[in-house]
Subunit: 350 residues, 3 copies
């Protein structure tokens, strides 16, 4: 834990390109919300709704925009984007320990693993034949790296992650515990009512600066690699099927499933528990709201949704019955319109 | 396996506060359904629909309410709540072995782990610096406990579970295999189309008597801890995002995802594959039906639902087309109403 | 990696019952799509839409139906079903290495494990008391097999899988990493607002030729076993609750959850992220489309769906408001129909 480390405000300001208002030698030991921060802690004001909390905050120092300086009674660092500044400062106080290069004596490495001496291999990790582990990489306890894998510089494979054979991870990635990369894609050919397995001969290629959440699964491609672009952020328990291609800087929230061979463009944001069916193309910059089903390609960026809103159960039940009759209801309305129109014409005729 | 153990009916009755009808020395070796139970097995009658099964049952003994005693031909234990009695009796026949206190020789413990001698540490478990393992705790094979964790008395961390640093588990918890507690919350600040990681500086605090299902993930908080209250029951493959707060005795079924900073009250029941978006407050005692999307706070307890009912695919397709035109349909109905009203007024004028 | 192996076309044709057109001694080193295949690679033409790609393909050889032979310029194998032929050929080029029978020195096996000498036990695998591992079985690195389990012939338990006690796996199964079989079903009896655990005394029985995807969880039964029939294919991150029964050759896609005691018939296909509530019976041959909620039993096979289609967010919001008023709208339409009918009758009376 880095919690006891303290840092000078001026050093923080230099890092984030901010300007200190007050004592540049004031030291902070950590970050906290406006409500819970106390002396020696740094907070941030990024959301206008929390102005009363800013005014009442006991924080030792705050990150604010210049326009809110008059609501601040403590030392401050003026920045253009306090939320971004908070993100950068958070990295100074991360819970992760410094890397301890070397191989834990209980780890099991194939004889021909190419291991940079600047990497750390944790207790009981297993690394298969021909894999390459770059400088600054961290392989957590119990992680299993298959054969012919590549782990890029400064990437972290957390405890218990499993990479099957032929998975390539770029630089500065984080793969969280419980994630599985390179399991077989779900491919079978039907034969007289039974299923014949299609062996999945591709691998998985993950770009640089990708974060993959706990329990997320990314299957190996059927013939070519499943591909995750640079800067992609995947939350927990996401399912990425074989042959999927995710464009750079797309972010996907927890529980979403993407079916086989779908191509998602760059800079998309896909909310949680959404489903995207197979063989689609999703335009760059598309936003999908929570629990939506995408079953057709999207060529125009924009926000898309499906589903119904939440209701008290009893009225919902009545509406669901009506939904099942909706086509019939629409036909009845069209007929009414015709009748009225007819009556009206006949009325005018009289 | 405890399947060969036999227990006197009177001992069972004493445990559950029931009254034996028949031979108190009758011994049972296990529990079974009314349909599959045979001599030497105990069954229970908790659902009125199964009265014919009760009458036909070959069970050696049954748990029943007094009012159904005339349908029983075997030894019986009279109880007020046979289902609750079954729950208590099931604990006498659990498949888990007795704890074998001690540390497996292949486990890897940091030098300063505070380990109670009454705890059991399984094969190849890994426990990080400064963690505290209380009496009666069980750490399964291959479980990874990070640094600065606390595992309360008689809690079980099953095989392969991963706890990151700074996760606190209360007493009498069960965390099932594949669960990951304390992975980074999904927090990023946007900067010119890319994402800057917000390090997640909080931990996870889990109360007493909590059960966490296989593959469930609970992320560490951004600044404060993610919090799971006493008696909470989480099924498999649930995703709990950073800063979420779940009130005591709430039960959530499999596949549900709760987004960041949402507060769920006490004694809620949330059915499977539901999605709860971020920064909401859900009233105590709320019930959410399966696959519902909760995207607004709920202040009144009650049952809530979203979605449409299941239909044959062809008629569903027609209704889905109409759903997309529903606002327009409603406007057409309003216009019809106006026209009719007008016709009616004009009719009266004539 | 088997990528450097080459195989004679005639040998492939003999395996799949096809007929070589051209040089039977032509050798191929792998499979690829029509677009990416080059000399020495075999491709296949299974989907009529890709006829231009077939004509332009640089593949060394192709699998085609006789009727498309005139579009082929390379060596070919004529088959009735090129997709099925591709499936069979893919198995010749699988990424998995040959089995290396024996036990890794870091594995931990209980003294009474019945281990066939033809099985391979990977690094740091753990196998509990009384378990039986058949010939040709593969237990991957870090897999944990509980007590009293049975692993059938030629089954693969990939790295990091956890089987609790009393899980039986048939022959030729594959269980992918992150899967957990036999964790406790989600069973609790309510008692004054709290939950009393119902210990789950059953196990899990899995038939032959079953594939279980990464991160999929199958809970042990409450009293009897949870049952997965022969030939069932489960994709990643599926949740199968206690007492569920899945009929032979049913295939379920990723992220689907099946609640307790539901019986799914044979040869069903259930698309991803679907939810099936508890205690239902689903007819053999049923097809459920993606993200559908099944909350009633299905007695007639056929295709079923729920949900609404995807729409631009703004128009969707308006339609969702109308959905909540749908029952009221339907009543208004009925009233309009009555009024028109009345007007019409009165009109005729005049």
């Amino acid at each position: 834990m880095a919690a006891t480390r303290t840092i000078r405000l001026q050093d923080i300001a230099d890092l984030i390109g901010g300007e200190v208002q007050g004592d540049p030698d004031y030291r902070v030991s950590g970050l906290a919300t406006l409500q819970s921060a106390g002396p020696g802690q740094l907070s941030f004001f990024a959301n206008g709704r929390y102005l009363p909390q800013l005014r009442a905050s006991q924080a030792g120092a705050v990150l604010v925009r210049a326009e809110h300086l008059d609501s601040v009674s403590q030392v401050a660092i003026l920045v253009d984007d306090p939320y971004l500044a908070y993100a950068r400062v958070s990295q100074l106080f991360d819970w992760r320990s410094e890397l301890l290069p070397g191989v834990h004596p209980t780890a099991v490495l194939a004889a021909d693993v190419q291991l940079d001496p600047g990497a750390e291999i944790g207790a009981q990790a297993v690394i298969g034949a021909g894999s390459v582990i770059a400088a600054g990489a961290f392989i957590g306890a119990h992680a299993v790296i298959g054969a012919s894998c590549r782990i890029g510089e400064n990437s972290r494979v957390e405890a218990g992650v499993v990479l099957y054979d032929s998975v390539t991870l770029g630089a500065r990635c984080i793969v969280h515990s419980g994630a599985v990369l390179g399991a077989d894609g779900f491919g079978f050919a039907p034969e007289s009512g039974r299923w014949v397995k299609i062996c999945q001969l591709g691998g998985v290629t993950v770009g640089d600066d990708v974060e993959i959440g706990a329990g997320t699964t990314i299957d190996r491609g059927a013939l070519d690699d499943t591909f995750i672009g640079d800067g992609v952020k995947l939350d927990n328990q996401i399912q990425i099927a074989h042959n999927v291609h995710i464009g750079a800087d797309t972010a996907i929230a927890g529980g979403t499933a993407v079916a086989g061979s779908t191509k998602i463009g760059e800079r998309c944001t896909i909310a949680g528990l959404s489903g995207i069916t197979g063989h689609l193309t999703i335009a760059a910059g598309t936003h999908i709201t929570a629990m939506s089903l995408v079953s057709k390609s999207i060529s125009q960026p924009g926000a898309y949704s499906s589903g119904t809103g939440l209701q008290p159960h009893q009225s919902w039940k009545r509406n669901v019955v009506r939904f099942k009759q909706l086509d019939e209801l629409a036909r009845r309305v069209a007929k009414l319109e015709q009748t009225i129109e007819l009556n009206s014409i006949e009325g005018h005729k009289e």
